[in-house]
């Protein structure tokens, strides 16, 4: 299963490297969101520091919606998904492969976002392991649910509006937990970041399992 999944991941990443949509369009959009938050919060550095962890995850979610739509577009345009299914790769492998592909793209975007945010918002990190672990777990929750919801919202003619309505509530607890964990890691809130990591792990595992079990049912009609 994982060999097939890795083939799907490589295919998605190769398409991204050739089309450069991640670098040319989605990454600038990520930076634009941060700059707009700076304007909206009145250029007050202390406020930006306090709200930085939340802004980071809200920006990540907004960017994730674009990345998910892009990931689905790759398969639905020219009925590429039909050929992928005819290749004999199981739906579970396709799901795992696309989730890993999305995961890698989101991690790259988050790394960029993190560096820019630390510079622009003048943030100092007090707990690097917590930042890394909470980002790794939360991104799994985002990519596993995003891959599933992307295909659920596709082919209905209302994907652009339906996807956020379905996807954002699912990830709301993850955003809360990740924001608290980042807040603790930045020394901005009085919360036990590692405790919130428990919630994040449960969400990531549950969504990944549900995705693996149900993706095939949805894929049949895409």
């Amino acid at each position: 299963m994982f060999r097939d999944a890795w083939l799907v991941t490589k295919k998605d990443l190769l398409i991204e490297m050739r089309s450069r949509i991640l670098v040319n369009q989605i990454a600038p959009y990520t930076l634009l969101i941060l700059v707009l938050f700076g304007f909206a919060l009145d250029a007050d550095t202390e406020t930006l520091r306090d709200t930085g962890p939340g802004l980071f995850w809200v920006s990540t979610l907004l960017v994730a919606i674009l990345a998910i739509q892009r990931s689905v577009d790759v398969e639905t345009s020219d009925s590429a998904i039909d050929r992928l299914m005819l290749s004999g790769i199981s739906p579970t492998s396709i799901y795992v492969g696309k989730t890993i592909g999305l995961y890698i793209q989101l991690i790259i975007l988050e790394a960029l976002l993190f560096v820019v945010m630390v510079v622009l918002f003048d943030l100092s990190v007090v707990n690097y392991p917590l930042v890394v672990v909470s980002a790794v777990v939360t991104t799994l929750a985002i990519s596993s649910s995003g891959t599933l919801y992307g295909v659920i919202a596709s082919g209905l003619g209302v994907r652009e509006t339906l996807l956020p309505v379905l996807f954002l509530p699912v990830l709301a607890p993850a955003v809360i937990g990740a924001t608290r964990a980042f807040g603790d890691a930045f020394g901005r809130v009085n919360a036990d970041g590692w405790a919130w990591l428990g919630l994040l792990s449960v969400i990531a595992i549950v969504y990944t399992l549900v995705g693996m079990l149900t993706y095939g049912n949805i894929l049949e009609d895409t």
Binding site: L162, P169, A172, P173, A195, D221
Partner: protein, 258 residues
Amino acid sequence: MQRTEKQEFTTSRGTRFMGISLLLGLPTLLIFSFLLSPADDNMDDAVRLIYVHVPMAVFAYVAIIITGIGSVFYLWKKSRWWDTVAHASAEIGLIFCGLVLVTGSIWGRPTWNTWWEWGDVRLVTTLVLFLMILGYLALRQVPANPDLKAKRASVVGIIAAVNIPIVNRSVEWWENSTLHQKSSLTDGKLENLTLFTLFLGFIIVGISYLWLMTHRFRVGWLTAEIEIAGISGVIEERLNEGNFGDGNSSYQQEDEVQ
């Protein structure tokens, strides 16, 4: 109005019995809640809200679990019956979930001194559950093939249902992140009349759920039958024009069997 066909109505002897029980039970619950049961030492008169808040929270969870079970069975059996059960239960679950949030906020103001607490995991996850069901129903309203829509809504329904344990157990998992006290029933603090009134609340809210569920299920079933009849009529018309093959929706197949 003369009753010509049984399927044209959502009423039955069972729903009439439940309706009459509610007509008698609701005033009784109000009398017990506001007049007969005592005020609480800590919560004062705000305790009266728990007679509807707690049962509604439980039945909101029940409704969403039934949506999840219906969704699993729909994906497994491809049965319109289970799909209609899932859809009907989600609508009632949304109403109950909304009422839980409203009554919880009203109760929280005098008890916790706040309408809303963002750090409380149970509150926030209940809101998230509410929003997830809103998304489920939004997907249900998209104009698309009923089979396709049912299949996708089933996956969303399953995710909403598996979210319930996160909501319900969160207060125990992250006790330092909530204002909720432990379950009033299991810690043995409720006694006599208070406990009886809460028990009565459970019965009344339970009957409300069953009554609403039965009617909504029958409305959903009839709506689907009308849609299928409409689609079948158009398909038949086109087939007669061009003399082509047969439609093979599982909804149509099930209709033919019946």
